[in-house]
């Protein structure tokens, strides 16, 4: 059952130019967490910003009862959040939303993350690895300094290939090109993807073409996080009349459910 908890901050570190890792103790929430779900964080006790921020589970330690979030500075909310220090508290609500479906043991999963979209895939990698799947992770970033998940993925022990735009580590170029050019589709049973929508659209295209089942994780402005306000509505297909709620019906969707937008403007 999701809960509200005041989480004691254990660790809060800047891991790249604009990304932070926040670990806090929230045993009640931690026990319930499944990969792909999110935590709704209140970043300020004052009125501005008012609403909570939905942040993906980056890692969970159920024994310790801790949750780690990875987030990127994008505005006022995340800026205020970044000022919270160890031994202070964060107001956390969760876990919320529908997470990833978990692949059966001994199957091979390909996890493709773009930028901060790697966040939900790290906890997924841990859980899949733990239950005996073969896990390959691809992370696309601008340069090697943004490969923030590398130590954690090494510790989990999964196969990891980076793609950097500037070629400072791994494959030089777009993560989607790496997928299309280097991945042998017959080796993959399932693809999980999170990142900018045009990137997820391309990875979905690859999955569809090769008949590989896949899931992606979507984002939208959110208020309640529990399916009450109907604010984070989205049509799954342009021909649909009805809307789904990203917070409750998602944020994870199968690529068969949703039509992803290929253009960068992200208009809908």
């Amino acid at each position: 059952m999701p809960a509200l908890e005041n989480g004691l901050v254990l660790r809060h570190i800047q891991v790249s130019r604009d990304m932070y890792e926040l670990e806090f103790i929230a045993p009640g929430i931690a026990q319930e967490c499944r990969p792909g779900q999110f935590i709704h964080i209140r970043s300020a006790l004052e009125n501005n910003p008012l609403l909570r921020r939905p942040l993906s589970l980056y890692d969970v330690d159920k024994k310790l009862g801790s949750i780690t979030l990875l987030y990127k500075l994008v505005g006022k909310g995340t800026n205020l959040l970044s000022r919270i220090r160890p031994k202070e508290y964060v107001d956390a609500m969760g876990p919320l939303g529908r997470g990833f479906s978990l692949l059966a043991p001994r199957k091979t999963a390909l996890l493709v993350g773009g930028g901060v979209g790697i966040a939900p895939l790290v906890y997924l990698a841990r859980v899949l690895q733990c239950q005996g799947c073969n896990v390959k992770v691809i992370h696309g970033v601008e340069n090697r300094l943004e490969l923030v998940a590398l130590p954690r993925l090494r510790q989990i022990g999964v196969e990891f290939v980076p793609a950097t735009i500037d070629g400072s580590a791994g494959f030089k170029g777009l993560v989607t090109d790496l997928v299309v050019k280097k991945v042998s589709p017959h080796e993959i049973d399932f693809i999980y993807c999170c990142g900018p929508e045009p990137m997820m659209a391309k990875v979905s295209g690859f999955a569809r073409k090769n008949n590989i089942a896949a899931e992606i994780s979507l984002e939208e402005y959110m208020a309640c996080g529990v399916g009450a306000c109907l604010g984070c509505a989205r049509k799954m297909k342009s021909s649909d009349d009805e809307y789904k709620k990203i917070c409750k019906d998602g944020p994870v969707f199968s690529i068969d459910e949703v039509e992803l937008l290929r253009n960068k403007k992200n208009d809908r």
Partner: protein, 322 residues
């Protein structure tokens, strides 16, 4: 000498809001709490003074294009577009569930014509578990060229009267603040037979995306809620409290006990929390606890002693202010 533990007398915070019997004076506002069950993991929904459920129309509605919400300074804009499954689904799938759990339910209804409001009211009449009907009168009146019902005193009078004729349930129109004379609207609702008033609905606003160079919301305009609108709500309730006899459910940006007490002091019988539910999903319960603490700390027996107290101050002639 052994100190005797005197069990503290439990304060009775129940209120009668024009025939709507509430366990305590804190309701959750329509559209911010779904059908209650969405929040069940975070709060015992039967403990809430009243759950005003998502607005119901006669037929199902899909709602507005995304984005539907955007955060603004000390508030947010929403343009959900009344997405809801229609009154039959509400009665068959949501109401029994709430009823079984002992939740005090206030239905919220919306229509495009006076006849639609009346029909929904007649469908709700006699259904078990509905403590009151809140009328969303911020809908465009299709027959009157799309003008909102809530901005015209005569239309407010007519819609309230038509609904009252169809039901014995207490009727509480939710007044729109997007008017020049809120008192005239409140008087019209009273004349139409309203049992209580709900104040205030959201203020119409918009936000612009400077990168895309267009409005943020799919619907262009949306309703502003949150702390940003609290001063407007307080002023309107202050005016209406002195002009009409109806009990008022007051809300607009309530986030804490002090906010809630301000509404009581300008005349509200009970308060509603809307946007605050998104910030703190157990805010309704927390407010009741804090109100109790306030009353005890000040040696007060009930909210009655505070209600409208701030309207008794003689401030001379009230001008529009500068």
């Amino acid at each position: 000498m052994r100190k005797e533990s005197v069990p503290e007398e439990k304060l009775d915070l129940s209120v009668n809001l024009g025939g709507i019997m509430m366990k305590n004076p804190v309701a959750v506002a329509s559209g911010t709490f779904g059908y209650g069950r969405e929040y069940e993991d975070f709060v015992n929904i039967a403990d809430i003074g009243a759950v005003i459920v998502k607005g119901t129309t006669l037929e199902p509605r899909y709602g507005n294009p995304a984005p539907r919400i955007v955060e603004t300074p000390a508030g947010m804009l929403n343009a959900i577009g009344l997405e809801n499954p229609g009154v039959e689904v509400f009665i068959n799938e949501h109401l029994p569930y709430l009823c079984d759990r002992g939740v005090t339910v206030i239905a919220n209804i919306a229509g495009n014509t006076i006849d639609e409001y009346a029909r929904i009211a007649s469908i709700l009449e006699g259904k078990k578990g509905i403590a009151g009907i809140e009328l969303n009168i911020s809908c465009p009146n299709v027959k009157e060229g799309g003008l909102q019902f809530g901005v015209d005193p005569d239309m407010v009078y007519q819609v309230v009267k038509a609904v009252k004729a169809e039901t014995s349930i207490a009727v509480m129109p939710k007044l729109s603040p997007n008017v020049s004379d809120i008192v005239a609207i409140a008087r019209a609702a009273e004349a139409g037979g309203a049992d209580a008033l709900s104040m205030i609905n959201t203020l119409m606003g918009m936000a612009v995306d400077v990168e895309k160079r267009k409005p943020v919301l799919g619907n262009i305009f949306g309703g502003l809620s949150g702390p940003a609108i609290k001063p407007v709500a307080l002023r309107m309730i202050y005016q209406v409290y002195q002009a009409v006899k109806l009990p008022i459910l007051g809300g607009g940006g309530i986030l804490n006990c002090t906010d809630a007490l301000e509404f009581i002091l300008v005349g509200a019988t009970a308060v509603s929390v809307g946007t605050g539910n998104f910030v703190n999903p157990s805010i309704a319960r927390d407010l009741v606890e804090d109100i109790e603490k306030y009353l005890s700390a000040h040696g007060l027996k009930s909210l009655e002693e505070l209600r409208g107290a701030a309207t008794l101050t003689d401030v001379g002639s009230q001008t529009q202010g500068e």
